[in-house]
Symmetry: C2
Subunit: 316 residues, 2 copies
């Protein structure tokens, strides 16, 4: 069998990335454009796939890694729709349906973070693992858990950025989360860092940078501890702009060891490969779209009587 | 096919419960005895099953729900052994191996908390769900997550009692956890309650009971929030002695709503059936043993060439 020809959409709050290919290093066509109003934005994505298919042959499936919150319960009437989102005009929008209807191929959809988790598992820093967590620490914090080879998605997708974590003694910053104030993201996301230090995180230098990194590592470790104790990952992969601050990872590993306090005492939790940087960078979301597309194609092959349409529950 | 004849062991830190049957309401033989030194204790359990089998016919499989920490990675040399435990004499003990060797039947093993989670899923308060969390709040706090029908067990089993949670303003109690001090269990387990109020939780009355319940509900809600955001359960089932304190559940549901602060805004999180009491009570662990036994029997039927032996990864 030839490698499937897959389409991927990373549907982000600020930009759309659409590509056709079979892997991050096998991309035959790609387009990036700013996210505008839902109708024209989705239409532009659909047109890209139609034009690519017309030029080089039909696609087998499309995968969408989208900003959220998304309704992902397969039997829900709003499956594949956005829930209430601060992004103007996008609340309640059906993201998966129009793509499936216009292109007539199976469509898989999950959140951008879960997509990136799947991408890192297939081609990146979590290759070969079946139970791991992908975390993005950028403006905000998002996390996707893959457990036993499947993305965790129960009543809703995970919302790891909003974990409750204890304050570090002496930190009086009120927190930046509009819902919770001083949740994990509200204390340790990039927006929180910028507000706390009066300077965007990536522009910090000298003693302020050192102090900011120390505090950031301590807060991130508190959330990682909660992730370790609730999902028992074999590895935690971290991407996003804040994760690229120089020197963060060694501090973070040390703070995690302090936070776990020797419990349950596994050497694996102290190993350098337990908390690692993401590998796919700006391609993570779109790579996730490819995994979701492959999953949708496989699911469609297993139930050949059903027509094309959106589906979830993708296997890593 | 006749109902399988299954054996179950709840291997607790203070007592062993062994039974033969097929469901909590179909128990044909049962024994309870204090947990002593490993050799004689396991021998007594084995003798119970041998005698029952001699009297009424052979067993199909045994399931063990054991206190931990346990090594549960199926390919690990110490699979089915206890790791370092404060219980004198039990560190490193092989719990599953001697049972499998002596009885010559498939043996499934998991933690007591994961076993109780499986039992509540099969016969109790989580019937019909595939993604839920079972929590026991007794002397300590333990939690087991079933996700997509399978118990979460990655690098190790979950350790939800040791979550990091923020302190409630004004609470100066240092916490009772020997590892973390003021982790979730160290602030909200029964031992912590007794130490904080100077009276065992079940003996509190009047205004002190009201204040204790208010604080307990707030701390429990902080941990539930972290569980909701990391594992996305359809329901949370809570057992254990502290969960039986009168009036706790309505307070807990209200505090959870406050803790989630409308994010992600699902009506399901606010419904009364989202956080519910466990149903199986003192039979929860042993019921879990029956589910583990059934899983071990099914796994053995699927690979008939392999001999009897301990196995994990049980499906709910």
């Amino acid at each position: 069998m030839n490698a499937p020809r897959l389409g991927a959409i990373e549907s982000g709050g600020t930009k759309f990335v659409c590509l056709v290919g079979s892997a991050p290093d096998r991309i035959e066509a790609e387009i990036r454009f700013p996210t505008g109003a839902p109708g024209p934005t989705l239409a532009r994505a659909i047109a890209f796939f139609q034009e690519t298919a017309a030029a080089t042959g039909p696609l087998d499936a499309i995968g969408i890694a989208s900003f959220g919150p998304l309704e992902l319960r397969p039997d829900h009437a709003s499956f594949g729709h956005l829930a209430a989102t601060p992004k103007p005009g996008w609340s309640g929008v059906d993201v998966a349906g129009p793509v499936a209807a216009a292109l007539g191929v199976p469509v898989g959809i999950d959140t951008d973070v879960n997509g990136a988790a799947l991408g890192e598992g297939r081609w990146g820093a979590a290759r070969g693992l079946d139970t791991y967590v992908y975390l993005t620490v950028g403006t905000g914090i998002g996390g996707g858990a893959v457990i036993g080879g499947r993305v965790v998605s129960g009543l809703v997708h995970t919302e790891m950025g909003h974990l409750a974590v204890p304050r570090i003694a002496g930190d009086a910053f009120p927190g930046s989360c509009p819902f919770h104030g001083d949740c994990w993201e509200g204390l340790a996301g990039g927006e929180a860092m910028g507000a706390r230090w009066g300077t965007p995180a990536e522009e910090l230098t000298g003693e302020t940078l050192r102090e900011a990194l120390r505090l950031e590592a301590a807060y991130l470790a508190a959330g990682l501890r909660n992730i370790v104790y609730t999902t028992a990952p074999q590895r935690i992969v971290i991407g996003g702009g804040v994760a690229e601050l120089p020197g963060l990872f060694p501090l973070l590993r040390a703070e995690l060891a302090t936070a776990l306090a020797g419990y349950p005492g596994l050497p694996e939790h102290a190993a350098e490969e337990f908390v690692v940087p993401a590998l796919l960078g700006r391609l993570a979301g779109a790579a996730g779209g490819l995994v979701l597309a492959a999953g949708a194609a496989a699911a469609a092959r297993q139930r050949p009587s059903s027509g094309p349409g959106p589906s979830g529950g993708t296997q890593a």
